[in-house]
Symmetry: C2
């Protein structure tokens, strides 16, 4: 079982920052992240995962000023993970970077650099941006529509992966006697001219320890699944039920063969939001304490965000969810949220209390044994290759998971006691990609 | 006297990587940089400085494959400095980032993040890109012309500095009881709509320890000086003679008052390329050893680069420099190189041997006392506020400077024995900028 530690400044619960044990200034507290990364490494997590947004998501100040969420004020992920790489030695680091408002050359370069700095522990979570608040920071009035976002993402990923092959692994001779620094035959110019990008290359970073930093994706929509089946090596996803999880797992793994890939080439790691107690009563109490800290203004705005920007504040809190029009927002999250409300016949208030905590992710409340049972069930039934753990509060929620859930997973032989490899790829069980030009060269030699 | 340690992978001499004592794999060797940054910090340097290019500069493989220069394969500066920030505590970090192929929101965010991670030790060296090899990695066939580059740079700097003021210093309340995370009156939306950029804001990073990371510039052209007089806090420049240095110093400092600035608000730190020996003979021997490692192919290509891409390989190596046409390249470097050749009546070979080492910068060969004499002379005669030290080889050239020149500067009371402050600004003697919105608020209160 693979495990990621998804660090969100004060924790994933929307009211986490108000909890007495949480670090309220987490977004500017570097030592907080050092402690978390080192604790996750001591516990043998595969990776630390950071989400991202290139702008605050929203301009409802009544809501925003009551949360530490919505990317209001926190470290930029690549700078943060580079710094954390210097004070750790084995854990992987996955940063989110959007393909919507970036250039492939910059992204390829920064992740290759992080892979060198960390000795092969970098991963890129490829996302598309669906918030107009982000678009407005990048010379646009609106964001790209869904199809254009995915077309751009697909070409972006193609360019980045090709740039990572600019140099063959043994291109750099560094021969002081002959004066040859590199072998010109092992340097490759991309000369990409596509619909969205024109990138000559080569990348000005040597091929990195992992060949390619690990490519992570999150989308669950049809376009997202298609893109993932072609390029992703880890999927971070959100399914509420075992049935949905196994369905998603079978569907995505089934798409790999068409792309010449093996089911093991892609690891599916759903998010899990665990509230752990020494007893069930203690876990429930922790959960209720957090829920009680949610301001209704915050809860409503969050539902609005998850349903595509629709304002529900005009509707009665204890009434049903109204019929909602189709929007341009992230289709997967919108669908998941509305499905949940319909399935369980929730009121608006019940819905916000449900999604405010885990924000649409799989929420588990119980003892270490209860939570291990659930994680094991989904894992052995081909619903997950592992999980991205979303602690409700930080640092407390991560400590709880390490102290109460991990020993139970280890007792069952489900989780490692020592890292298997030196790189993130080795620990995740992913092969190191052979450079495409080396493959070409070998093909020529064999013919 | 302020001192920067300008780290170039294996050293600034063009043939540094071939020297027996240099780290030839420096561009992918993180521990090499850790040792250098920690040595510079122990020696109380103000800052570590990193240059940058977003692409290899050139496609002359015969040349490129013989050098470790021209940004062929090395760490991306911001990721590298973030990582170094985690293993140091007092030294500043200045990374170069181009305004030509970046977005102000990304740049503002990364440097604010680095300033938080490092506890107030970040600086941004603002440059414009003048290489078409870089342009071709960013959807263009040619680079921007000189006027457009500077117009874009000026607007870019304006937007970045305004984004750094998005939040007042005391905007974040983080009041767990009331549930107020920030004070909405202390959050400011920029809503910039200019010729080159449209950026709404606010930045999603809290105002950083230094208020604004230190703004560094390098241009010496008329447009560069005008921009620097308006925005720069440190200028990294290149003058060969005391007369040129004092002329530049007086000119740039004289432009500050018009912009409502004091001469102390801008520190002028020319580059210096020191080859230090325990005796003059030893220094000369070190220099000649390095010069002997320069391949003529490399020397010629370097002169070509410094003179705006003009190919001199058709001319006799031991003949004079021919008349050269005006080009679109960086005017300051081109002018400096040609001036040098004219002034000293150099042949092409002599020129490449002269500029190949220091690449147009001020080259000093001698004992610690000789070099301290030169640095002192320029410093006391108002030609410099300090220097950006460019070690010819690394790590050896930095060690030599620390062991042989610094004790001499300290004996004369010219350089610190302990850091004065906690932040880069405090050590450089630069004031922390007051947030523009706080200034506005105070003005309203006073009327």
């Amino acid at each position: 079982m693979r495990l990621g530690a998804f660090l969100y400044p004060s924790g994933h619960h929307i009211a986490a920052w108000r909890h007495p044990d949480s670090q309220a200034d987490a977004g500017i507290n570097f030592q907080h992240y050092v402690r978390l990364a080192q604790a996750a490494e001591a516990a043998k997590f595969d990776l630390v995962f950071l989400a991202d947004g290139v702008g605050t998501r929203g301009d409802n100040l009544d809501f925003l000023s009551r949360t530490a969420h919505s990317y209001i004020a926190q470290f930029e992920p690549i700078t943060l993970l580079s710094a954390l790489a210097a004070v750790t030695s084995r854990i992987g680091f996955v940063a989110t970077a959007s393909t919507s408002f970036n250039e492939p050359y910059h992204v390829a370069r920064k992740f290759a650099s992080l892979d060198h700095i960390s000795g092969g522990r970098a991963g890129w979570n490829l996302v598309t941006s669906s918030s107009e608040h982000e678009a407005k920071n990048f010379n646009r009035d609106t964001h790209f529509d869904h199809a254009e976002r995915y077309g751009r993402a697909d070409e972006f990923a193609t360019v980045v992966r090709a740039l990572w092959d600019s140099w063959e692994d043994d291109a750099f001779l560094r021969d002081k006697n002959s004066g040859r620094f590199f072998d010109p035959d092992k340097r490759h110019v991309l000369d990409h001219k596509g619909r969205f990008f024109q990138v000559k290359g080569p990348l000005n970073v040597a091929r990195s320890p992992q060949g390619h930093p690990v490519l992570v994706q999150a989308g669950s929509s049809e376009a997202g699944r298609t893109l993932a089946a072609r390029t992703a090596e880890v999927i971070f996803t959100a399914q509420q039920t075992l049935q949905d999880a196994t369905g998603f797992y079978a569907d995505v793994k089934g798409r790999l063969a068409v792309n010449g890939r093996h089911p093991d080439d892609l690891k599916i790691m759903p998010g899990v939001f665990p509230i752990v107690g020494r007893t069930r009563a203690e876990a429930q109490e922790k959960f209720e304490e957090l829920q009680s800290l949610i301001d209704p203004v915050v809860g409503l705005a969050l539902v609005s965000g998850l349903t595509g920007g629709i304002d529900l504040s005009g509707y009665p809190l204890d009434g049903p969810i109204p019929e909602l029009p189709e929007t341009n927002a992230s289709k997967s999250r919108q669908a998941l949220t509305i499905e949940l409300a319909r399935r369980e016949n929730l009121t608006i208030r019940q819905l916000y209390l449900r999604v405010a905590g885990a924000r649409g992710h799989w929420q588990l409340v119980g003892t270490g044994q209860d939570i291990a049972d659930q994680l094991e069930e989904r894992f052995v039934n081909h619903g997950a290759d592992g999980y991205n753990v979303m602690p409700p509060t930080l640092p407390g929620g991560l400590t709880d998971f390490i102290e109460l859930v991990l020993p139970e997973l280890r007792r069952r032989g489900l989780f490692r006691t020592e890292y298997e490899g030196q790189t993130l790829r080795e620990n995740l069980g992913l092969a190191r990609p052979v450079n495409r030009y080396q493959t070409e060269r070998q093909a020529v030699l064999e013919n």
